[in-house]
């Protein structure tokens, strides 16, 4: 009996501690609101940011940029992680509707599956803007994403330059059907076609480093002649790098990735990777927040906002 109560008490306290610790940011503006009514509407503004996952550096950067933005401006940003589960994502959106947030920045786990959540937000009259991945349903005020086609062209043209206009190239594709896979591949192939360079192998490694390694191992077995590899993200590029290294061909095959993850940037600095295309998740986040604030204020916002990319090369 005593033990039961002590454990229940401990749980409750744990909850209380967590509740207190995190509520400081949200309580402070509420106190201000009482003091002066004019400031109240601006100060009490809360927006939600629903992320698909926090196991990828890209989304962690978005989270951290949003937190920094909130700390700097006093805007409340509720950040929720969906653990790559569309069901969890729709629950997160429902919880934010309950919280009556003023607007939502949404990065779908899947463009189709998120449609119901967007419809729920429409029904609740909460403005929604998508970042990075678009939604195939419901009404989204604006979509803010990297110009992936331009990035693919950028990577492709750099490979053409490295090879001096001739050679054999391998393309490691992302998750089939994902917009990043389609657009990056499209841009890359535009550059290849323009230069007349042959893509000797084109296979998916699902954006995963482990698969990048095994798929590249297999391609190395099958293709005696390879001059360059373009991977739709850095994880696959780094996996391919391991395979090329193990085959003792690291000097002869140029590797270009996408995303400019910390590991890839380091590999470019060391010269083990030729280049990577940098998305700017921080710029994407601030653009997203500012566009959303404009929309909440009743201004019309552009339907899509492309965010620039940059080539990181030695």
């Amino acid at each position: 009996m005593k033990k039961l109560f002590s454990v229940v008490l401990a749980t409750t306290l744990m909850f209380a501690a967590v509740g207190c610790g995190s509520s400081t940011t949200s309580e402070a503006p509420a106190a201000d609101a009482g003091a002066s009514e004019e400031v109240a509407t601006e100060e009490a503004m809360t927006i939600g940011l629903v992320l698909p996952t926090l196991t990828t550096e890209f989304f962690v950067t978005i989270k951290e940029t949003a937190e920094a933005y909130a700390a700097e401006t006093g805007l409340n940003i509720v950040i929720l992680d969906s653990q790559d589960d569309a069901v969890k994502q729709s629950s997160n959106v429902e919880d934010l509707i309950t919280k009556k947030v003023d607007g939502i920045l949404l990065i779908p786990t899947d463009s189709d599956a998120v449609a119901t959540a967007v419809e729920d937000l429409n029904a609740a009259g909460i403005p929604v803007i998508t970042l990075d991945r678009s939604a195939n349903g419901g009404e989204v005020l604006s979509h803010i994403a990297s110009d992936n086609v331009a990035g693919g062209v950028m990577a492709g043209e750099y490979i053409v330059e490295l090879l001096g206009g001739a050679g054999k190239v391998v393309e490691l594709e992302g998750v089939p059907g994902a917009s990043a896979t389609r657009e990056r591949g499209e841009g890359f192939n535009i550059a290849m076609d323009a230069a007349g360079i042959e893509v000797v192998a084109r296979q998916t490694a699902n954006f995963s480093k482990a698969e990048g390694l095994t798929v590249m191992e297999n391609i190395l077995q099958a293709q005696p002649e390879i001059d360059a590899v373009f991977a739709h993200n850095d994880e696959m590029a780094l996996g391919a790098m391991e395979a090329i290294d193990a085959a003792g061909r690291s000097g002869e095959i140029k590797i270009v990735g996408f995303d400019a993850s910390a590991d890839a940037v380091a590999a470019v600095a060391e010269g083990t990777m030729a280049a990577t295309v940098a998305q700017k998740p921080d710029l994407m986040t601030t653009t997203g927040i500012e566009t959303l604030l404009q929309a909440i204020a009743g201004e019309t916002v552009p339907e899509s906002v492309p965010v620039e990319l940059a080539l990181v090369a030695e």
Partner: protein, 312 residues
Amino acid sequence: MRKSVSYYVEKYRPIIILVVFMIAISIMRPEFLQPSNLSNVLRQTSVNAIIAAGMSFAILTGGIDISVGSTLAFSGAVSAYMVLNNYNIIVVILVTLTIGVIAGAMNGLFITKFKLQPFIVTLATMTIFRGMTTVFTQGRPISFKSEGTGIMYRFIGKESLFGIPIPIIIMVVVYILGYYLLNHTSFGRYIYAIGCNEDAAHLSGINTKKVKFMAYVINGCLAALAAIIVTARLSSAQPTAGDGYELDAIAAVVLGGTSLAGGRGKITGTIIGAMIIGMLSNALNLMDVSSYYQTIIKGLVILVAVLLDREK
């Protein structure tokens, strides 16, 4: 007197924990008790609760089924495909449930006929069903629009009857049937008997193989039922759907006071366990708890519940 108080605490422990939880949460976040939020929480809980109901049967026999998440993914993918191709809604539902039944029967067959460990069998089928899902979907989500069968199908996930969301109604019906089966039929008593002592149950004339087989069939069928709700709710079947759901279901069963050793526990505890897990995620979201901490807290709550269980 003392004895009787502790008796009741013992008997209603899961519900006491749930009530303490709800009070604690609603003090910190009054919006938690809004009817719209409670209805959200229950709907969010329904999928895990339905899977956990099936899991209760497997665990009460002393077994386990970790293939339910993959069963959900595969049956959901097939149902989305059929909706997309405008099959009759009744056919869609029947075929989806049948897939669950076949998946469960496969598990049951290997566990009873070939006397293999439930964990190993379902570990294998988990991988197989996930692979079948990837092959069937070609790694892409299968999505359908609100037209033809899609209209009816979305209705299951989105709409309400008498003001109650349909997933909640399905969940309640599942638990009423589960309660009846376990507490008012000989089949239910056999389940408990097998969980307590399989050899003794066998010697006293119970067809233990048949009963265990049926437990896994029920489990598979309920996973497919959950798949219908998930797919209808999202208008889309994800190849990665249900990943990790088996763990949430097992956690719900254990939180509800059922012993993993089998033979002891109640299905009413399971629904409370599922509600605690569902309310926990909802409350942590409402309280702005950082996503990084949410999973830690969820794990701690499960540990605390197991600690309470150990006290006996």
